[in-house]
Amino acid sequence: MELGKNLPARLFVYALLGAAAFSVAFPLALMVLNSLRSNFDVLLSPLGWPSEPDWSVFARVWSEAQLGRAMANSLMIAVGTVLIVCTISSMAAWAIARKDVPGWMVISLYFLATTTIPIQMFMFPLYFLLAQLSLINSPIAVIMIYSAIFTPFSLFLLRAYVLDIPMELEEAARIDGASDLRVFTNVIVPLISPGLLTVALIVCLNVWNEFLISITFLQNAESATATARFYQLTGRYGNNLADLMAVATIIALPTVIFFVLVQRRFIEGVSAGAVKG
């Protein structure tokens, strides 16, 4: 499929691909560059180059906006969700993949159906119940909600990994007298660990960026995740766009760095499901 020696055609293709890359990167560049300029300059024109970059802005908004707290909240909720999702979905994936559970087909269909249901279909009762119990702003509640939301997808992803494990391995362990739990922890988990890593990456990223649940269930500055905090701050920094962009840059940076570091694994993980499906 490659174009080989046809130089004009190759240049044309690269020009198209480059233009597409530019259109993606341009708004992101506006965010970073304008965070380094003064608000006055930003209002004059968003397109200027930061000739005297003001690096202190990051330290200033970091403490002003309590971003350290917000990022720690995001991290804690992400880690909690990843631990729960990986545990419960790998266990369920094994049982469902081996069809050892009565009604496994119904259970699979149930989890499949939950992936299509909008969050508005279950958030109202949860919200008003948690409000009655004074559990709004509770990170534990949010971790449980995220766990339920991300379990079906990781279950189906891990199920594919379980199916690749030959039954003989499990049976050999059983003949040696291993219990279900032992077979699971000593045979299954090590073999599906690449899948678990993919699940962890995707869940982490999605929890960090999640909007609807976090702005609804985490409403004060102390409990807010980074994205919820950013949303709270858009009003306050409404007329200081340079600072707002600095906050945006700080919150976007961890996920972007994380993604660039693990991009190969990430892209493989994300496309594996769709390509196989």
Binding site: F128, N209, V256
Partner: protein
Amino acid sequence: MTDQSTSASLALPASAGLPGRRVRARRKKPASRKWLFVLPALLVSLCVVLIPVITTTLLAFTDWNGFSMPRWVGLSNFVAIMQEARFWQAFQNNCIYTFLFATVPMIGSLFAAVLLMTVRKGRTFFQVVYFLPVTIATVILAQIWRSMIFSPTSGVVGWLQSVGIPVDNPLVSPDTSLLGVLFVDMWSWWGYLTVIYFAALRQVDRSLIEAALVDGASRWQTFRHILLPTILPTVMFMLLMSIIWSFKVFDWIYVLTAGGPGFSSEVLATLAYKTAFQSFEVGRASAYSLSMSLVGLVAIVIYLRLQARREKA
């Protein structure tokens, strides 16, 4: 976009048959306790999703402000929303949004993925750049577009106006607000599709492609008769996911226009949310949610039917 990057394989096994007799006989252990392994996942899902979904369904038949006792009102919420202009406006907006979101990026991304196939150097670089928006929170991307690009005072639009180019902020006009939001959503999303299509295209047997080209097939014929049929399952799957996800769109609308001006960019997700948390009419909000869920279910049923037929064939 919560689940935009969570495209796990939803393919269910073709044969749903019972475990064969041989398998059962071979296994010495009598009663399997494997159901215990499904229990935690089921319990979490039951508490967070199933019970609240049933509750929401029941609430749709009540009048409830979230705090007092719900009052049973039968079908009157549904009768009321059917007579609302904003419900139909939101429903129509959802349909337009989903139709364009499912078609335009698909064509653009397929084209981009095929272009990537034709080059040797820079594939990874382009994929990483195209994928970047997916890794950043929608609320941040939406805010960049709102204040740095669309804003007439601080954005690129304002700068273009100042040099005499007649452009306008699409978000403040009822005619263009929905399309403005849709544009930003598609901007953040097409790269993800491109990466997935590219991964699918790379699975295609290279020798097939080369044989076709040697035999004098044009590039278009090669794409149409060799590449496209092979990646069709991926395309169909992503089409289904695009329909399901975009029908649930909330973040982009809520941050960019909050449904305005008027109800010009309102969708069912924002309408339900605002009705529940701003006017505290939870019964009516549940009725909106319910009508929104039915569409997703219909889409998945159609997909499963199609897949079952394909596996039979």
